[in-house]
Symmetry: C2
Subunit: 314 residues, 2 copies
């Protein structure tokens, strides 16, 4: 699909780690736009015909490829890179997996699992989940960032001050993202496209879905941004909040434990009420449920809540 940009970066123009020594595949002028043909997070190892055995066989050296890097002409350390998220052209299929050792409840879900999604690219119709439910879609890129100043090879998995695998589900079309630039030329890359995800990405994967994304780049001189920030042009949850939420809580002195408790309680609620396996509920929660910090000041106990949109299962 032609997203009407100034340049196109193809899927093979990608890399698998952050390293400011990787040569740029393209230089753009501020104000220009680029279409990126983003692969899914498995780099094509999983397809619409994959089964759970393919999850076990994943080669992690290939995981989470990012298109780029793009050099932004004139970008200097201390500037901010403004990335306008223009449009997505989704592929119509995706996958959600439980990958052993990965995910918020990895200890409780040691076995692999895989769900293959099919969705309509021409309408905004929610995607049907085989075990039950319909998930509203909102495409975004999970990994979006620039090269860190520190030399050497840095894992693609964790996000950093310069962005990367932030998995922020509201970086949807219309959003303006600002990234702190640490090296000359910025060296921007993007990947890990998702058709939908809840806040937290609790099982470790979203609706992982290859798609093209169009972005425009501008420079904010000497912004000295401490961390990524973004502006959304409007509401972020109206595609799924129409029927309200079921909400579970985790309460205690550790935010991570409280988050795990809140999610466990939702998995128990959904799997019992809708006759779904715990694994199916876990994957479903990851693609549409949100982790929020309800209270972080009433020492010594905090409240983390997990919001599951009722429209998905009602």
């Amino acid at each position: 699909m032609d997203l009407h940009t100034n340049h196109t970066i193809h899927a093979h123009q990608s890399h698998h780690s952050w390293d400011n020594a990787i040569p740029p595949v393209l230089t753009v002028a501020p104000g220009e736009s680029v279409e990126f043909a983003v692969q899914d997070a498995s780099a094509g190892q999983l397809t619409a015909r994959s089964g759970v055995a393919d999850v076990t066989a994943l080669d992690f050296a290939q995981i989470n490829p990012v298109c780029g890097p793009i050099r932004i002409d004139g970008a200097k350390p201390g500037d901010a890179l403004k990335v306008s998220v223009l449009a997505f052209a989704p592929s119509g299929w995706g996958w959600t997996a439980c990958i052993p050792g990965f995910g918020l409840l990895a200890d409780q879900f040691p076995e692999p699992a895989l769900h293959i999604w099919s969705y309509d690219t021409t309408t905004a119709k929610p995607a049907a989940y085989g075990p039950g439910g319909r998930v509203p879609l909102k495409p975004f890129c999970g990994t979006i960032g620039v090269a860190p100043a520190e030399p050497g090879v840095h894992s693609i998995v964790p996000p950093r001050r310069v962005g990367g695998n932030m998995d922020i589900r509201d970086l949807a079309a219309g959003t303006e993202l600002y990234l702190p630039i640490e090296v000359a030329g910025a060296l921007f890359s993007v990947g890990d496209s998702h058709a939908a995800q809840g806040d937290g990405e609790i099982c470790g994967t979203a609706i992982e879905s290859p798609m093209s994304v169009a972005l425009r780049f501008e420079l904010i001189r000497d912004a000295q941004l401490p961390s990524p920030r973004f502006t959304t042009p409007g509401p972020v949850a109206r595609h799924l909040d129409g029927k309200g939420y079921e909400v579970t809580t985790g309460i205690g002195p550790d935010l991570m434990s409280a988050a795990r408790d809140a999610v466990r309680h939702m998995i128990d609620l959904i799997s019992t009420r809708h006759a779904m396996t715990a694994m199916d509920a876990y994957l479903l929660c990851s693609v549409c449920g949100d982790l929020r910090i309800s209270e972080i000041v009433d020492a010594p106990n905090w409240v983390v809540s997990f919001y599951f949109p009722r429209i998905v299962l009602d």
Copy 2:
């Protein structure tokens, strides 16, 4: 105001700690409703005419009174108490304070501060903030819970498995809350009414505002609920999401540090852009901005985001 309930609990019928030995002020049958005349969290020590010196003079022994306890006839340990939040009758005034030693950024805001709010009780009009901005209102009770099984006096400040000071801003009218019952009769109490608050209650106070609240009680037998949960009848953020959000992030291996970073970055953004003191931005963020966990699986770094609704300052 008459909220058309079966019973009324007045402001003086209150207590200041959780203790299952406190005798109930009323016994109700399942299905009955009660109106509670909830005091503000200072128990009247702060008024619409208070100044910052009154914050310094606060007697903490009087803080956070809760109306009750109410005995629910026939309630047994293991049952759940279903609390239907029927209606609020707000008072039209409130306060937000920075109380030294209290709040997510207590180390960075050691001085006291106080803002007095006035709002219209007959319309849904946002409340004007003196330093700038208009905050949409959504009343709820910060403290709502039942007595713990463990004997003795327990502080009113932290929430627990049985609820309490959860400060969950979406426990608004129409919500159904389920609380785990640990003692015969449940022994329900409620207080800490807020006219508005963001997820996190980051400065430690909301728009603290006395108001009457009407609740209805039912029992779910042998629910064996692990932690409070609730159901919202519809969207939870449409009163403030119309113009989207400004969002800042905190990225790192500790959720608490990431939350602090995200909030600090928002305070810097707002105070710079709107020529507001950092303290004013801190109080404003507490009453309308939301802490969310965007990503909690990409080890070793998590992303906590702070969402500030643009409608407040645009």
